[in-house]
Symmetry: C2
Subunit: 167 residues, 2 copies
Amino acid sequence: MQRTSFKNMDCSAAKALECVGEWWSILILRDAFLGLSKFDEFQNSLGIASNSLTRRLKHLTENGLLERRIYSERPKRYEYILTEKGRDFFPVLVALTRWGNQHLAPNGAYVQLADRITGKLLEPILMDKQSLLEITYANVIVQPGTGATEALKARLAMRKVDVDEGH
Amino acid sequence: MQRTSFKNMDCSAAKALECVGEWWSILILRDAFLGLSKFDEFQNSLGIASNSLTRRLKHLTENGLLERRIYSERPKRYEYILTEKGRDFFPVLVALTRWGNQHLAPNGAYVQLADRITGKLLEPILMDKQSLLEITYANVIVQPGTGATEALKARLAMRKVDVDEGH
């Protein structure tokens, strides 16, 4: 499972991947979003080896996505609760699920989202907050942000975006 | 790099992860979204070993996210172009980048999105298409979809969602 670190890449997506850890970690977060919090619950859901689960929970805790809390003093037992940073990861999972539903679910969506209060079904779309333009590859371009390094600016300046490709 | 397959999990997010392949593959897609298409371009951008890059490009092509096209007959050379399925993955990368910008970019966003036509900066938000409700962990619940298996329905019925946790 060793791999090159993405930590020093000047890219938010690479840093996000490094922070989350690895493939399994996204499914741990998925289960946390479904309300699971205890070691055994994650293990039953994921069918993952104890030592692997321990390592990934530790990584997610150290990186601030989960918080470890004592829920039993005798014996001492911990549960893992999503932090604000962890909860903010929810749209990534929704986007991933939406793509899976679009392209990998021939019998219809596996899961769907509903309004927590009204129960109405929801159709998640990534939009610009102000203009409500749908954000797709076809209609946006990527630019350096305020925190872009010189290296990133140079890299983005060299990119070859064929506008027609997006349409 | 061997790991348990997610393919048989009845979950769109797990299937999406399986389909994409692995961590590096997301960065290959990122570069494809920036207009890179040739083997050397991906290799220069990612600093990845040839055999690893070959394997991941093959996986992404076999899974229909990239399409291999001849761009030179003599010598025979190929480029890798995003398919519609690949382009549809764009919102996942945007959501991941947004989270990285929110939590892992102390000096400001690395990259930002702008309207391809007007050049206006965009703020990507995941919303319900009809009601424009912002989709966050706090205000939605997850339900079985039309393609949910009995096992998935049972799993979702057992989930413990503490409504207060989301707020």
